[in-house]
Amino acid sequence: MKTRIIAKLDVKPPYVIKPIHFEGLRKIGLSVDLAKKYYEQGADEVMYIDIVASLYQREILFGEIKKTANELFIPFGVGGGVKTLEDFSKLIYNGADKVAINTYAINENPEIINQAAQIFGNQAVIVNIEAKKWNKYYECYTDCGRVRSGKNVIEWVKEVESRGAGEIFLQCVDNDGRQKGFDIQLSKKVVESVKIPVVIASGAGNLEHIKELIEYSKPSGVAIASLIHYDNFSIKEVKDYLRKNNIEVST
């Protein structure tokens, strides 16, 4: 299977920002412009995460999402602040193909995963994981990597799979934005723990990091942000490099 290359947009609407360790926000540009740019560069998907919606407990800004979706003819995943089945429905209506949920499902009502999968199909339900290492195990965090949930990452991914989630989107709080490489050990463990696709984010600082992750952890997709935000590389360059290294990616 071809590994998907996904552009991750951490959004504080209307801007894409780039935190380091989920803190210290820097403005990169408008989400509308960046989504279009990465689409044109050959991204397989765009993942839009409103990183402050849960934290500030405010409503999802559907208008910004619709605008961002408008220029895309590739799949568009959206997350951040999702709490109800109506949120799923409205996001899909406004151009999302899949919806990512984290804080609400883990803290309040995991049953929403079952319900959403039954209504929207499991392919439309992504569970976003914010993992942070504690001694020997990894714990799920919520509210943009700020709040501990008490859930073990491996146990939680198995649970959400059995509840009907169609994909895991794994972010690592310790690696995010640092551009020092992915947590390939945790990634491999998560990929091998479930049968559903796993997308790995957090850590791409150079092309070798991506190659190492794909070869070692065998994820279904890799999400990149900082690497492309600062124009160090385009998505096309990432794909060309992987192809040269015998890793299958889409054209």
Partner: protein, 201 residues
């Protein structure tokens, strides 16, 4: 005649916005079908799909669209779940009767690898038709856990980790694609354009 493509809106689960903008990008005129009488105003029908087989059929029944779709004689394009429900029966969350426009069943993909099958993948055209013209070498975006089992109306197959499944079908003017043309870059827009241009030539 102005030639309008109707997009069936069946409640919570349709990604109609994405389909509508892709058809517009392919220079098609669109009408979102929200009420029964709007079927008379369109020349072709697109049945989009995000959701589960069972829920989709329930929604179509609730809004009273089942009969008009079953008896429809206009060209119709089912996308993903929209293709699956063209079948006689589906097995997602129990056994559910489909529209029965194509003699087929919809079953979970029987493979020992990651499911859902998500991502761009190639199609192998087994029977070329008007909507696949010029697209034989293209990749399309797939996002599904179920597959259509059919032996008589296949127009293309796709291989996923050694397993071949039906990626598009056609029976008379009924077309179905398992992939999402609205999410498949220029190749998808071209397929939609081919559908728009059907019988206009």
């Amino acid at each position: 005649m102005s030639h309008i493509i109707g997009i069936v809106n069946y409640g919570v689960a349709g990604n109609i916005h994405s389909v509508e903008k892709a058809i517009k990008k392919a220079n098609g005129k669109t009408l979102i079908i929200n009420t029964l009488d709007q079927f008379n105003q369109v020349d072709k029908i697109v049945l989009p799909g995000v959701g589960s087989f069972k829920n989709a059929m329930k929604q179509l029944e609730n809004i009273g669209f089942l009969e008009v779709l079953c008896k429809n004689t206009k060209p119709i394009l089912g996308i993903c779940l929209g293709m699956q429900i063209l079948s006689s029966v589906g097995f997602e969350y129990g056994k559910t009767k489909g529209l029965g426009l194509i003699h087929a069943e919809v079953r979970p993909m029987l493979i020992d690898t990651k499911v859902p099958h998500v991502g761009f993948n190639a199609i192998e055209v087994t029977y070329s038709n008007d909507i696949l013209i010029g697209l034989e070498k293209e990749e399309f975006y797939f996002m599904h856990s179920f597959e259509v089992i059919n032996y008589t109306d296949i127009t293309s197959l796709t291989k996923y980790e050694g397993h071949k499944f039906v990626s598009s079908i056609q029976k008379n003017n009924i077309y179905g694609v398992q992939f999402h043309p609205e999410k498949s870059r220029e190749a998808g827009i071209k397929l939609l354009k081919n559908f728009i241009d059907l019988e206009k030539r």
